[in-house]
């Protein structure tokens, strides 16, 4: 399918380093919409919706924030750690939305599996179904995420 000029612009923007060093797409050669469709399918195959995933991420971040950087018990056998940095980060989609630079790292105590997301990730998943391209330093693998947080 031919990309609209808007999609072309977004794709270029996501591959640039204008918001994060290295961009959001990594080495992924697929179009943004292909990445979104594939990851959304992965989430749905496991019986969840993007909204449910984002809601759970919100919930964990909210509890972990109370630790002020120290890992705390966030329930269901998980430990959560929140790390905050100076400034805000904006959503790369063309709409006004910005977020605290906050990273939440969740560890499954039993398996030792660990995953990290930012407040921006929660928005990208909830509003745009975007988990970042394969090879991006901050990509979240949907299956790994769901396996850990649910």
């Amino acid at each position: 399918m031919k990309k609209t000029p808007e999609m072309e612009k977004l794709d270029n923007f996501l591959r640039s380093s204008r918001i994060v060093a290295g961009g959001f797409m990594g080495e992924d050669i697929r179009d943004v919409d292909e990445v979104i469709v594939a990851d959304t399918r992965s989430v749905e195959r496991l019986g969840y919706s993007l909204e449910q995933v984002a809601a759970r991420m919100h919930e964990i971040t909210h509890i972990a924030k109370e630790g002020l950087g120290v890992c705390v018990d966030v329930g269901a056998g998980l430990k959560g750690c929140v790390d905050e940095a100076k400034g805000r980060i904006v959503c790369p989609w063309p709409h006004p939305a910005s977020f605290d630079k906050r990273l939440t790292t969740v560890t499954d105590v039993e398996s030792g599996k660990e995953i990290t997301w930012s407040d921006l990730h929660i928005h990208l998943i909830e509003e745009h179904g975007f988990f970042e391209g394969i090879g991006s330093a901050m990509r979240i693998e949907p299956v790994k995420l769901i396996t850990i947080i649910f």
Binding site: I19, A85, G87, V90, A97, D100
Partner: protein, 366 residues
């Protein structure tokens, strides 16, 4: 086949003519000529119309805080446009409160100068300057925090108030990147006017911190502008409590140097929090202020010390340490520097201890 070729040629020609017309119209029809920017009814500068107000001011060496390079995404470059700024844009409204909109506050990066324009800028910003700085040292403080030392090029000097910050211009170092400014509190002694020290923590994928940690080398020249900010000591004699974590050490270190330089006799206690003993830094240096200042106490606090680290100081969250350790707090002024979460939690604890809200000053990361 010939028909297709002719059609493509005709369409391409029409496209080419339209593009040419656009370029010509931009040059001649949308040429706004020279416009005057009136600043505080005191100073007038003449600029080429058609640029953003922020760009016009930067060209005249008037620096307004801006982290995003004028893309309208940080919301920092606010100033008052009294007349001539045109209508408020949808790109500005998310960053402006109702009161700011009523007060004619605008984002200077979104205001295009198309005619004479009348603006108000805080007087302090008019003294902000750009400095060429040469990196003279990089020291590891923890696994993700470094001290960056810069000397000002030539015989330049910077005057700043302890607690203020500068903006570091990150050059393009990544394909598809662009220059951005990031703000960092000055960590060095204000008396040392020929140098600037910054304490920077690595942000994963952060544009500026990645540059500083992975690309900046000793001897490199970078640009900074400043000073900015309202975070500084009051001129009272009230006792003070400082609370900081991580790179929040920077402005407090600078303030302590200032207290030493001015012979301050104010009572002060500094709680510095870290998660592990290995994340504490500059401990000996700050401890030395206990000897050098009249009435100063330094309390490093470790949240989760490893038994192997043999930590004998206070443990727990820095806010818990303040709550259990600080006495007669109602008389105190509080100076906080750290993450939004730490500021919020400290504010609650200080309120519980009786510190009036108006006496809690903070340099939030946000």
């Amino acid at each position: 086949m010939v028909t297709v070729f002719i059609s493509v040629l005709v369409i391409s020609s029409i496209g080419g003519v339209l593009a040419l017309l656009l370029v010509l119209s931009e040059k001649f029809i949308a040429n706004y000529g020279i416009c005057t920017v009136d600043i505080n009814a005191e100073k007038q500068i003449e600029v080429q119309g058609g640029q953003s107000l922020l760009s016009c001011l930067v060209e005249e060496d008037i620096f307004i805080p801006s982290a995003c390079g004028g893309r309208g995404t940080c919301g920092y470059c606010k100033l008052k446009v009294i007349e001539g700024g045109g209508l408020l844009l949808p790109t500005e409204t998310p960053f402006l409160s109702d009161q700011e909109q009523k007060d004619d506050i605008r984002l200077s990066c979104q205001v295009k100068v198309r005619n004479d324009i009348f603006i108000e800028i805080e007087k302090e910003l008019l003294s902000v300057r750009q400095y060429e700085c040469i990196c003279s040292g990089i020291e590891d403080l923890t696994h993700d925090i470094k001290l960056f030392k810069f000397g000002l090029a030539g015989s330049e000097e910077i005057d700043f108030i302890a607690g203020q910050y500068v903006q570091l211009l990150t050059p393009v170092y990544f394909k598809g990147g662009e220059e951005v400014y990031r703000a960092y509190s000055v960590a060095s002694d204000p008396l040392n006017k020929g140098a600037i020290e910054l304490i920077i923590r690595l942000v994963p994928n952060g544009i500026c911190t990645t540059y500083c940690f992975e690309h900046l080398s000793i001897g490199d020249t970078i640009l900074m502008n400043g000073p900015y900010g309202e975070f500084h000591l009051s001129d009272t004699e009230s006792p003070m409590v400082f609370i900081a974590g991580g790179s929040g050490m920077a402005p407090i270190r600078c303030i302590l140097s200032h207290m030493l330089n001015t012979g301050s006799k104010r009572k002060a206690v500094y709680y510095f929090g870290a998660n592990k003993v290995s994340e504490l830094f500059m401990i000996d240096e700050i401890k030395q202020f206990e000897n050098d200042l009249d009435d100063f106490r330094f309390v490093p606090v470790v949240a989760l010390p490893d038994p192997a680290e043999h930590w004998t100081g206070l443990t727990g969250l820095v806010t818990e340490a303040v709550e259990s350790d600080l006495e007669n707090a109602a008389d105190y002024e509080a100076y906080l520097c750290g993450s939004p979460g730490m500021i919020e939690a400290s504010g609650k604890v200080l309120a519980k201890l009786g510190v009036p809200e108006g006496k809690i000053y903070f340099d939030s990361f946000a």
